[in-house]
């Protein structure tokens, strides 16, 4: 997935001189996860460079550049460290077009490695998508595989709205089914690991039914898509797994159509549960599919605690926990 993301930026930098890539350690070094590796060498120091350690300043600079007419693609080193830039994203990027009557807009794409599963402890593991989903004017994208990652990132860079692009770092080097003690898998051989070369897009706001099924609907994104698939497989049920790909815009039609068919809905995310994005999904599903629902919409999420280093595999939603929820949803009364 790292290569796919790198590709996306490489393609866009070659196509469009307005695209700049910058962030902490992204220049000469190529990023702590190497996602920007080689971009400085290929496109020049003025197009891919290091920044001071000041996330608010990084985003402010990007907004100013966008106001000039460029299309900056800043990186925040870890999504945990996006919070110092939260005011810039919410009060400025998300509101600029609206409040200026369309005179200025903030066409920026803020990339950030995100989520847990790498023993990164409290501040290298968090999943803050809900605090962006609530902010009107921001789009939020979370890919689950290399193919989508590249296509979505290109679409995000081309989008005229500010996009938060969260990269599940547990998926950087391979799919992950949630078994913390399992062998490491690489992307090799995975169907979604084949990344076309050159330019292509995956549109924002289109979910992907990664496993069609009739028994129940599982809504997931990022790493949890793989965990959900593993759980469905283990359960032996015919579950439909929908990869949302972007949570804003949200593909509400695919969600409703599926739940209306299955009558059962399970939501899975890593972020802690309370007031997480799963709450909005549950609220929407029961608003729109109430009379089709056989069971309450269920959520399997991170617990309502900070991300705990030693208890990573107890916190991270596991195929077992997802399986238990599936069993409950499918139980005959």
């Amino acid at each position: 997935m790292i290569q796919a993301l790198n590709d996306a930026m490489d393609v866009m930098m070659a196509r469009d001189p307005r695209v700049l890539v910058f962030g902490e350690d992204v220049g000469f070094f190529g990023g702590v996860f190497r996602v920007t590796d080689g971009l400085q060498a290929r496109h020049g120091r003025h197009r891919c460079f290091d920044t001071p350690i000041a996330e608010g300043g990084i985003v402010a600079t990007a907004i100013g550049m966008a106001a000039y007419g460029l299309r900056p693609v800043p990186e925040i080193q870890f999504a945990d460290y996006i919070l110092p830039a939260y005011d810039q994203l919410v009060s400025e990027a998300a509101r600029l077009r609206y409040r200026s009557g369309g005179e200025f807009e903030a066409a920026i794409t803020v990339r950030s490695p995100y989520g847990g599963g790498i023993f990164g402890g409290q501040t290298h593991s968090q999943s803050p998508e809900a605090i962006f989903a609530h902010i009107t004017g921001l789009k939020t994208v979370i890919p689950s595989n290399p193919h989508d990652a590249k296509g979505l990132l290109i679409a995000a860079v081309e989008d005229d709205d500010p996009v938060i692009f969260l990269e599940p770092k547990r998926l950087y080097n391979g799919p992950f089914d949630g078994h913390g003690d399992g062998p490491l898998k690489t992307w090799a051989g995975h169907t979604r690991a084949e990344v076309p070369s050159g330019y292509y897009t995956v549109p924002l706001g289109k979910a992907d039914v990664v496993r069609p099924g009739g028994d129940l609907t599982i809504l997931a994104y990022g790493t949890m898509v793989h965990v959900a698939l593993a759980a469905v497989k283990a359960s032996g049920c015919d579950g439909e797994v929908i990869d949302l790909r972007s949570i804003v815009p949200l593909d509400i039609d695919s969600i409703s159509a599926s739940v209306e068919r299955t009558g059962r809905c399970l939501i899975v995310h890593e972020a802690s549960r309370f007031s997480g994005f799963g709450a909005e999904l549950a609220a929407l599903v029961q608003e729109r599919c109430f009379y089709s629902l056989e069971r309450p919409v269920m959520r399997v999420c991170g617990w309502d605690t900070p991300y705990p280093h030693a208890f990573e595999w107890d916190y991270f939603p596991s195929p077992q926990r997802v399986g238990t929820a599936i069993t409950r949803l499918l139980a005959r009364d």
């Binding site: 402010a60 907004i63 100013g64 550049m65 966008a66 000039y68 005011d87 409040r99 200025f104 807009e105």
Partner: protein, 410 residues
């Protein structure tokens, strides 16, 4: 004062006290040297502790910082300052009459907005605060557009979405304002970097209030400006007050906001903000430096907020009512007018005529806007509430519009 205990600074005078500006050292006009614009930063450090002044007490221009402007330019500056004042007075009264929800004046600080607006190019960009409407007045922004914005009426260029006076005027080099203070200071630096990246010699001018320099945004903007040698002029308007807090609440034991430049390796200029010529001159100096690829300059406009903070404020609650009258650096309008008179290019009669004309222009613009409607009496079509959130409304917004009986395109 020392000793253990929590130290909390206080201004020299509170309501009931005599105004006290004895701590302010006013250097004679012309006494500060004017180094070349490409001088090394370390040769400029003393300027951050001096006070650059051009106009002397006898209304003459003195010293190396005298920009030697054409009288036409000076008259244009005077006119724009007077227009700013006329507009402020009128709109403030309209707020009292309930015709708008909010207004803010820039009385006493007009030179800090007008001189830069005239000194810089049309393709440069200001990143304003709410107190530099003079920038727009200096560039001939249509008055009725401003009033329409203030009334949030059907002709409001910001479509009813924004608080009064939080203008946006791209074609006039005036970036979108917002209610948050400080959060656009870094945009100025990003814009300037983008200009440099694009190979253009445009510059960005960032404004920030002295109170707002305490925000992290200020520091991050200066850091980026320093690292990438951004062609920006970063201006602190030190008008002594941040709502009810005096400047010592932002600056602690330091005496100069310009001195903050030193820590970033940038030139810091401290200038008499009520001296139109001095303000022009430092802006011009910094602009030449920036256009030459030598990076940013931090400028402190030393001035005084003569009016209340906004229509919601009553300054007599926290400072002596007569403080403004004691401000040692005078009034920018009177000083420029006095200078023009002293050099034989102006007189009282012309000023009276001009004032009457400006008042009439403002009144006419207000009349036009009032015909469209004042706050609540007229507003843009309701669908404007939903437009511009995203480039294209998503299903949430279209559904919500439908709930209100609106079509996306009607």
């Amino acid at each position: 004062m020392s000793g253990i205990g929590l130290h909390v600074p206080e201004p020299g005078a509170r309501p009931g006290d005599e105004p006290d500006f004895s701590h302010i050292v006013v250097q004679p006009a012309g006494s500060v040297d004017c180094p070349p614009h490409d001088a090394d930063e370390h040769e400029l450090r003393h300027l951050a502790f001096d006070l650059i002044r051009v106009l002397d007490d006898d209304d003459h221009a003195r010293g190396g910082w005298n920009p030697r402007l054409d009288p036409d330019v000076l008259r244009a500056g005077l006119e724009a300052m007077l227009l700013t004042r006329a507009f402020d007075d009128r709109l403030f009264r309209l707020h009292r009459q309930g015709k708008t929800s909010f207004y803010m004046k820039s009385t006493g600080e007009e030179a800090c907005a007008v001189a830069p607006s005239l000194a810089l190019r049309r393709d440069d960009m200001a990143f304003p605060t709410y107190r530099v409407a003079g920038w727009l007045h200096a560039r001939g922004y249509p008055l009725e557009r401003m009033v329409n914005q203030i009334f949030s009426n059907a002709e409001d260029p910001l479509r009813g979405r924004q608080l009064p006076i939080l203008y946006s005027a791209r074609d006039y080099g005036f970036y979108s304002l917002s209610g948050n203070v400080g959060s656009r200071f870094g945009h100025a630096v990003g814009w300037a970097m983008a200009a440099a990246y694009s190979g253009r010699d445009q510059i960005a001018l960032g404004y920030i209030g002295e109170g707002t320099t305490a925000e992290g945004d200020f520091h991050e903007a200066l850091t980026f400006a320093s690292v990438y040698r951004a062609p920006a002029i970063l201006c602190v308007t030190n008008n002594q007050w941040a709502i009810s807090s005096f400047s010592g609440i932002a600056n602690g034991t330091a005496q100069s906001f310009a001195a903050k430049a030193i820590g970033y390796g940038l030139p810091g200029l401290r200038v008499d903000g009520n001296d139109f010529l001095a303000v022009w001159s430092v802006i011009d100096w910094a602009a030449r430096r920036a256009r030459a690829g030598l990076g940013a300059t931090l400028i402190e406009f030393f001035t005084y907020r003569a009016a209340g903070h906004s229509t919601s404020d009553d300054p007599t609650r926290y400072r002596p009512a007569s403080e403004a009258a004691h401000w040692p650096l005078g009034d920018p309008v009177e000083r420029l007018s006095g200078h023009l008179t002293a050099i034989g290019e102006w007189d009282e009669a012309r000023e009276e005529t001009l004032k009457a004309e400006l008042a009439a222009r403002v009144a006419a613009a207000v009349a036009v806007a009032e015909k469209v409607g004042t706050l609540g009496k007229s507003k843009p079509p309701l669908r404007e509430m939903f437009l511009g959130v995203f480039k294209e409304p998503d299903w949430r917004l279209t559904e919500q519009m439908r709930e209100l009986g609106l079509e996306e395109h009607d």
